[in-house]
Every structure is written in C-alpha cells, then in structure tokens.
Amino acid sequence: MTSVTSPPPPPQPAGSPAPPLPAPRRGTATRRRRTGRGTRPDGRPGVRGRRITSWIFVFPALLLLGALVVYPVVFSIGRSLFDADGDRFVGLGNYTELFADDATLTAIRNSAIWVVVAPAVLTGLGLVLGVLTEKIRWATAFKLVLFLPMAVSFLAAGIIFRLAYEQDPDRGLLNAVATGVHDTFADEAAYPTARAREDAGLTPGPDGSYLSARTAAPGQTLDLGLVGIAPGDLPGEAEPAHGAGSAQAAVDELRGTVWLDFAPGGGGEPGRVDPGESGLPGITVQALAADGETVAATATTAPDGSFALTGLPDGEYTVRLPAGNFAEPYGGVSWLGPAMITPAVIGAYLWIWTGFAVVLIGAGLASLPRDALEAARIDGANEWQIFRRITVPMLAPVLTVVFVTLVINVMKVFDLVYVIAPGPVQEDAAVLATRMWIVSFGGGNDQGMGSALAVLLLLLVIPAMVFNVRRFRRSGS
C-alpha cells in the first residue's frame, strides 16, 4: 500500500505503511521560497497582485477555521471560567467542581479505562493478526472483512451490539453462546422451582437452602416434602416414593425420603408420603452437626427419593438440602448492566477498529527487509524468536503510530457509548465526551461546566498536537 500523501511520481516503496501523519519530504515548496522571488520572469503580475491571488486561495479555509474552530477554542476557555448562566466569573471553580462531582469522576475513570485498554488491545491484536495473515494466501480478503466495520456508523454498530448484548439468551447472541458454553461444562440445578411446603418438615435457610424443621439422631428417619415442581419437570428416572423410607436405619445412619408432596389428581395428605407421590432423585442431602456448620455426612437421593446419611457419631443432626439443588439456571452475563457496560462498549469498538490496526501493521510488516528474517531463519531461530527479536523491534515505529492514533481517537469516543448504554446505565458508562454532552445539553444545561469539560478534552490531546507540529517542522524545514 502506498501512502496517499505521496504524489504519483515518485511512488513510495511498495508496502510502506501509510502513516496517519504523513511526514512530508523536504518540501519543494520550501526550496522554491528561497529562490522564487529573484527568478520571477518579466511580464508576470507583481508581488502585490500575486499576494492578492494567494489570499483569495486561502481565504475560504481561513475564514471557516477561524470562525468555527479557533474562535470556539478561545471562547470555550473563557466561557469555562464563568458560571452556568455566564453571568458570574468563577475562575477555576468549574474545574475544581469537575473533580468533586461523582458523575464526572466516573467519566474520567471510564475514559482512563478506555485509553489504557482499547489502544493496547488493538495494537496487540493488529500485530498478532498481521503476522498470522502473512501465512495465508487470502490475506487481502481477510483484511477486507476486518476493515469492513470501518464503513459502518457508530450508530449502526451500536444497534448491532445492543442486539447482540441482549440479556435474554433466547434473543442476545452473546448470552446464547455464554449459556451454551456454561451449560455444557456445569451441571444445571435439578429443581430450580422447588420450594418447601409450610409447616411440613422443612424451613428455608438464609442462603437459598432448606433445613429440616426438627433435628434427628442416628437411627431415625426424616421425610422431607417439597412442592412447586410441575409433574412434567420430574426427571425420567423418578420413581414412586411410597414405601421408600420403610427400611430401618442402622445405629450410625439417618434415613429418609425427599419427595414431591403432591399427588397428581388430588388426594393425599400434606406432610405424608402418600401413594401416587413421586420421589425426587439426585438431590444432595447433608447432615449438619449441632453447631449448624460442620457437614457430618453427605448423600444423594435415589430414584425413589430415599437417602441414607451414614457413619454418623451419636448426636442430634439437622438435615440440609443445599441451595445448589434449587439455584436459578445460569442466565448469561448482564452485558448492559452497570458493571459490564464499559467492557461491552469497548468490545464493540474493537470490532470496528481491529481492521485498521491489522491493515496498518500488515503494511509495516510487508516493508520489513526479507533478508534479515531469512538470515535469522538460516541461523536456526524459531518463529517465536524471530517475532520477539526481529519483527517487533523493527515494527516499533509503526506500532507507535497505531497506538498514538488510537489513543487520540479513543479520547473522543462519544456515539458508541451514547447509543449502546441504555438510559439507566448511561451514567455508569459515561466517558468525558458523553459527560460533556449531558452537562451542556442533556438536562444539565450548565455551559460553564460543559466548556470546562471541552477544554479538559482539548488539554488531553495537546501532547498529540505538539507531537504533530514537531514532527512536521522537523521534516518540513
């Protein structure tokens, strides 16, 4: 790829990266200035006439830049020293207030997260993918696909990711994937809807578990009834519970039945194992010692709901059905909730900008001298050593350019946050640019604070400004 800033003649060496701030070569324009006036042929308009022509050429640009860019900078700095209505001079009051305001501090913190995370991840991703694409023949197609999101507006990207981040796993793709993966690797709770019947042997524990209402000693039996399970939700292996608890408990064991205390079609007495009622298999049962904490024995119920807690020393025990039996099914990640919103929006930003990093770094890779890499290979260096010791150091200038460009860009991110974060979490997701908007126009209507925020944004990009001017002066004169 050749740089846009190079003229048709002479072309830049193929594959040189397009620097975001193309350094002009020692300018012909500058050279001309030194000799220009003396070589003016006769019969041409005088210096004065040519000056007028020159001013006509630059006037439209200077007028617009002056009125709509330079004047606003000066105006904003001045305005930021006045209060909300602009009547009272408050000095730096707005700035001190910025750092005392919780919402603004959240915005500053989030902007810091953005600046630390997004450019680094993108540069790293661009580097890895750039190196990997060198190994495939369809590299151009791959880069096109990754670059495509750059054509999409932040609004459209925001709508796309609002769809993808939907909480309901039936509608949001990311949670559909998350729950799918989760359920593959973790056992689902068997009875999420089950609850104890009041005054029928079980009381709810503090953590979602259920405890037996009375204690029991080894050699006794306990029947624990649950309700709230639809007959259709019973596991296929479940068997009738009637008679399951008839076995006599040994002296060191506690026996009992966990069953669904509900007979389809009616009949039966609450709290008693009646014919037609089903056992609840697969439930974890624990015997708690008198201190209420030590688990003395653990068992799992059989298909008919019976369990036997064995090996118990003499004493009184409470039987517990731990919360794991009843936990709600995993519902995925709350992407658009207050905790995850900033990472979620950064994710959408990565989708848009990865192509940029890959293409720029890929161009840099293509311009690396082949012989250095070949020499290293012949010397027996492996791919990782070549990457670490040769590719990355030689690419450092390109990586810096990508990184700096992204930092400037990330600082001003607005639309994506404004669109993806739902109203209630807008404040949790705020960055400096959205905060500036809310304070100035979105209800706050405090133009003094708004100006202070805009000036703060400007101050943050001043290092980049200095960098640009220096770089230009070095190469241009």
Binding site: M1, T2, S3, V4, T5, S6, A18, P20, P22, P24, T28, A29, R31, R32, P41, R44, V47, T53, S54, F57, V58, P60, A61, L62, L64, L65, L68, V70, Y71, V73, S76, K135, I136, A141, F147, L148, P149, A151, V152, L155, A156, A157, I159, I160, L163, A164, L173, A176, F356, F414, V419, G423, M436, W437, S440, S451, A454, L457, V461, R473
Partner: protein, 282 residues
C-alpha cells in the same frame, strides 16, 4: 527439514488458517445479525434470536423495509443525510484544494506559521466547537438548518484536508509548474488544469474519507439539526429509547444507513482504505 518438523509446520499452518477463518466469520456475524433481524417481524424478534431464521428462512420478508420507506420521517432523514454529506464533501475538497495549493506553491506573509496552526488544529476535538458555534449559529439563523450542519462539518474537516492536500501538492515537480507559468498560465489555470488532475488520488481519498465521516456522524447533527433537517443517524437514535419494541424500525434503518458506505467501500477499496488510514488522525 525433518519429516517431523514438516508435519508440525503443516499442522500449525492448518491451525492458523482455521483460526483466521473463524475470526473472519466472527467479524461478519454482527452484520449478518443486523441483516436477519431487519428481515424478521417484530414478534419474531421479540420471541427468539435472529439465528433461528437460519432454519426457517421462509419467515423472512422485506415488510420492515417497505414500512420504513412509507415512513415519511425516515425517508426525509435519509434525504437529509444526502443533502448534508454531499455538499460537506464537495466543499471540503474544493476549499482544501485551493488552500493546499496556496500553502504549497504561493507566497503570502505568515504562510508557514499559518500552516503550522492548521497542523496544530488537526486533533482539536469537535466537542470544543459545540457550545460556541451553537451560539454563533443561533445569531446567524443557521442553528437547526442543513447549511449549519454542513458548515460545521466543513470547518472541522478542513485541518486534515488542507494538511493532506498541501503535502501532496508540494510533491509536484517544480519544473512542471514553472513551465506552466512560463507558458503564461495564471494561477487559476495552473490550479485547474495541472494541480487538480495531478492530485486526483489524494482528492479521491479525501473525498471518500470526508463523505463517510459526515454520512456516519451523529454527534454534530444531534446538536445542530432540528426535526426537519436531522439525518438518518439522529432520526434512528431517537427511536433507541424503546429499543426492544423498535427493532422493526431500528434494524432495517441501521442497515439502510450502512448500505451506501459499504457500497463505497467495495467500489473504492484502495482509496477507501487509504482515506481512512490517512484521516484517522482526526
């Protein structure tokens, strides 16, 4: 290379290929999701994810799009987007080309200092202009109008545009310009007949970058456009409040808004990539 090393090499290159293929698929999925969502009925979108459409493609229809194009608010907003993006692009290219030529080849006092100022303005965030320009436009009667939005975009597009074109024009061989001057051409003819044709690649990249920038903008129009002059992005943004129940408008609207940029993308791939690359300093 030993057979074992060759086998490892083959396996890793296979793994790399599969990994990259998967990444490409992941990158295309969001766009596919938007497209499928836009083709499904509101009820279907409420009930299930767009990927279920893959198994029952017959439930897809263009009904959302016909409804969208019957919605006068949306069609007007689409028209406004064109009315904002095209003049904002043309004006930036013309004004920046004039200024770029002057900064590169004409003489006037303070030229180099003024150009340094332009370089400094490259990274000025648009946020700094929102409040002051809103007040200025209010006094000039430009607030809430299409020309106001256009002028703001032109002004904030200019630093980069002037910078890009000045550097490009500066590389034109001096002999060509001197020869044209000796032939008696005045600056306007040299500009129109020599500089502009030679600068076509840079002008094209600039035009594409600026067009996309303005077409995709929401922030500037959110403030400077009123209900009659708002572009598509702002019109759709106002529907975001009831996101869940408005997917039938939002999904096809968003897809409509990205059709033109994507066409531009595929039609002018090279200029597009270069334009975005060069313009990313903004």
């Amino acid at each position: 290379m030993s057979p074992a090393a060759r086998l490892t090499g083959l396996l890793t290159s296979g793994a790399v290929r599969i990994a990259l293929l998967l990444i490409a698929l992941v990158w295309l999925t969001p766009l596919a999701g938007l497209l499928f969502s836009s083709l499904r009925t509101e009820q279907d979108n409420q009930a299930s994810g767009w990927w279920t459409a893959l198994t029952e493609p017959r439930r897809l229809s263009f009904d959302n799009y016909t409804a969208l194009l019957d919605n006068s608010g949306i069609t007007q907003a689409l028209g406004n987007t064109v009315l904002i993006a095209v003049p904002a692009t043309v004006l930036v290219v013309i004004i920046a080309a004039l200024a770029g030529y002057a900064f590169a080849w004409l003489e006037f006092p303070g030229r180099d200092w003024i150009f340094l100022l332009v370089v400094a303005l490259l990274v000025v965030p648009v946020q700094i202009g929102l409040l002051p320009v809103a007040e200025l436009f209010g006094e000039l009667g430009l607030f809430g109008t299409i020309p106001g939005v256009v002028l703001f975009h032109v002004a904030y597009g200019l630093p980069f545009a002037v910078f890009l074109l000045r550097n490009y024009f500066a590389e034109i061989p001096r002999e060509m310009l001197e020869a044209a001057r000796l032939d008696g051409g005045n600056e306007w003819r040299i500009f129109g007949q020599l500089v502009l044709p030679l600068g076509r690649p840079a002008l094209a990249s600039l035009a594409i970058f600026q067009f996309l920038w303005v077409w995709n903008d929401m922030l500037v129009a959110l403030l400077f456009a009123d209900a009659d002059s708002q572009p598509l992005t702002v019109a759709l943004q106002s529907e975001m409040r009831q996101f869940g129940s408005n997917i039938g408008v939002l999904a096809p609207g968003a897809f409509l808004s990205l059709v033109i940029p994507v066409i531009v993308f595929f039609a002018f791939q090279r200029h597009f990539v270069q334009g975005v690359m060069a313009g990313s300093v903004k």
